[in-house]
Symmetry: C2
Subunit: 222 residues, 2 copies
């Protein structure tokens, strides 16, 4: 197990190698590999383990009976998922967790975390505080997506998403973690209609793009 990788994750930040060793044991750590598009957790599952992405990345998706997919969040290496469901006993997942690429996942059982901690596990409080920060950030992610999908037009959604990406990258040029279909699923629109709108916007000089790299043209930006 790569301790320096783990120590740099948000979940385990502020812990020593020795503490991490205890944590992994205490939380019954196991790892598993998944191929792209494999489903890691199914909607309806009741889970008691957090997943941490060791390599690759995963998407949080909602898939309805008609095959309509919504991507709610994208989880990269070092980040965790399913903490919400793992922390609320008997709460069934309402989303699927899907491997966006081939990936390796670390599972950590959270059953012992929420209980009043035993004296041997002094790191529990640290982890709980880290989890609180992570949960708050997940909230921001979900709110952000709500914001990006609040406009009723495709163009409005694109502008909302792309401006935010530019802002968080502190650069008018940036690369997004989605292909066209995934971006459409994230923004809740049809892919071909979105492609069409992107082309129009490029023709109008609002932005330029190739593949997943976009550049927003501001008035003072040529």
């Amino acid at each position: 197990m790569n301790y320096s990788f783990l120590a740099n994750t948000l979940l385990l930040s502020g812990t020593t190698d020795n503490e991490i060793k205890s944590i992994l044991q205490c939380l019954q750590a196991t790892t598993k590999e998944y191929k792209k598009d494999e489903i890691i957790y199914y909607a309806g599952d009741v889970v008691d383990s957090i997943g941490m992405v060791l390599s690759g990345s995963v998407n949080i998706e909602s898939n309805d009976i008609l095959g309509n997919k919504s991507i709610l969040d994208h989880i990269e290496s070092g980040q965790i998922f399913a903490e919400t469901y793992s922390l609320i006993p008997n709460e069934a997942l309402m989303v699927d967790v899907v491997a966006a690429q081939n990936c390796e996942i670390l599972f950590l059982n959270t059953g012992k975390l929420v209980q009043v901690c035993s004296n041997t596990c002094t790191f529990h409080n640290k982890i709980v505080r880290n989890l609180l920060t992570i949960s708050a950030r997940k909230n921001l992610n979900l709110s952000r997506r709500s914001l990006h999908t609040s406009s009723k037009s495709i163009r409005g959604r694109l502008i909302s998403y792309l401006s935010q990406q530019a802002q968080s990258n502190e650069n008018y040029q940036f690369t997004i973690p989605f292909n066209r279909q995934q971006l459409a699923d994230y923004l809740g629109v049809d892919r071909s209609a979105m492609s069409n709108e992107l082309s129009k916007m490029q023709k109008e000089g609002i932005l330029t793009f190739s593949k997943n790299t976009f550049k927003i043209n501001t008035p003072a930006n040529d």
Copy 2:
């Protein structure tokens, strides 16, 4: 201050009256009253205090430049809001918090909470754990709304929302906390189009409603 009310809130559950007294002092508690539609927190604000609804209720809204409103969440008496932003230093609100009715709000400064707790404030860990549970539940609320707005049709969104309401009320008949305009804003659709769709569904015998009370007609439910 009504201690038995506070002791029954999720945030302060598991604390004694004496502890609550310390908490209120330690977190510099203040209260303020707001009239319906008054804005409690503005998008763009940087806040360091959680709000707890003592009476009335508030909505979490996103309002764009064109006046389009989205309701992301509805907070009732005893529940808290803005904990996400309050817990992440310098993170500006991307939503407005608006009084849905006349209400009284208790503000609790969270600056001291996240720091490693002093030995005098033993309740900090308890509050942090409670906050974690609350944050996880907020995540569920946001995910749930994403789910309800993932369908591209108005009917699909209505069915998603109303079925979930029936399920959480454990009854095919239930009352929702929104009027028509608010429900439309929550589902991200036009009010009149939604009213129209509701009427159609009633004509088709799928459901009946009057005011905010709905009844879903299942095959075995007449």
